[in-house]
Symmetry: C2
Subunit: 196 residues, 2 copies
């Protein structure tokens, strides 16, 4: 076997990345140490390097996995035959669901990507800008077609992308409404305010 499997559901490197995701989300990339991570995995710090190249590689894996998922989704939505406002809603719902199911890596990517170093830093930064422009493009088309109120599209993108980060607080709050309810509330508030 080239790679050993851990409990028949993935390589050890994947286990490490998952633990790193949780740890980085909790403490922040800089404040989380490789010794912390080793303890979470149940191993000595040096042993981690049998599976990974560096601490930054872990951050790279997290950031680009997140970036690729969002890029893939916007590819799909742009090529669909939904109306513009439906496309905006679909992207919003995707963001909300990613924050439900993979919020730890989404938050790490969003908060800690600046700790990447070049060329990954520029790469990620540029992917991020492109992604936001594509979202703004969808909204501008909707405005041109009078489906959406005449608002500043980049501002809408800023609001949407940051609003969903609030779901992080939801994850750790006591009296949670259901994911479905939260999603419908968010869509109601953010999308109704946009309709022409």
């Amino acid at each position: 076997m080239a790679k050993i499997k851990n409990k028949n559901n993935g390589t050890k490197k994947e286990v490490i990345v998952e633990a790193a995701t949780r740890l980085f989300r909790e403490k922040g990339f800089k404040a989380a140490s490789m010794r912390d991570l080793a303890e979470a995995v149940g191993v000595e710090a040096a042993s981690l390097y049998n599976h990974i190249q560096s601490k930054e590689e872990l951050l790279q894996e997290i950031c680009f996995k997140v970036a690729n998922e969002f890029t893939q989704k916007v590819d799909e939505i742009e090529n669909s035959d939904l109306t513009s406002i439906q496309k905006v809603e679909a992207m919003l719902r995707f963001h909300i669901r990613q924050m439900f199911h993979h919020y730890e890596m989404v938050i790490v990517a969003d908060r800690d990507w600046k700790h990447l170093s070049d060329p990954y830093l520029s790469n990620f930064h540029s992917q991020r800008r492109v992604y936001r422009k594509r979202l703004a493009g969808i909204i501008e088309k909707g405005i041109a077609q009078k489906e959406i109120k005449p608002v500043d599209a980049p501002t809408v993108v800023l609001i949407m992308l940051h609003a969903v980060n609030g779901i992080e607080s939801w994850h750790r709050s006591k009296e949670k409404i259901s994911p479905k309810q939260l999603e419908e509330n968010m869509v109601l508030i953010m999308i109704e305010g946009l309709k022409a």
Copy 2:
């Protein structure tokens, strides 16, 4: 003189706190070193300790200054005779303006408060929870009075508080719309979607 003044506009400690605010915003609290800060102030690292007690004290000053400003504002608004929806709008506008004029300290407080240690950590955490509950209370009253759509109030608070963080990106973007335009766009999008 008990405290010497620097260029007749404040103590040296204030100069240090301001430089720390910029540095923490840029690099993050953990990644910013006291030697970085010293260089920004134009002094050796050791000299900083003639004016401050510790690195964490700087974070404390930033976090509680921000917390106090928001607490003070919600005191004022709660006691005003505005309608509920007007109160929500007033708080939103205050958040937006704070993000225009003092965004660096607002962002540091929001992103790095977890690096405080007790008793400051619990203190800040509790202030934060109380603040959010007060905002949710305003919204719930508005719903009861049928000024506001029947939505989940804590969710609205999450959306509002996080949406304004998007203004950080605005600060560093090239093609900026004016602050006034941004404010009106944000209010339009977020408040119109709320009205019953």
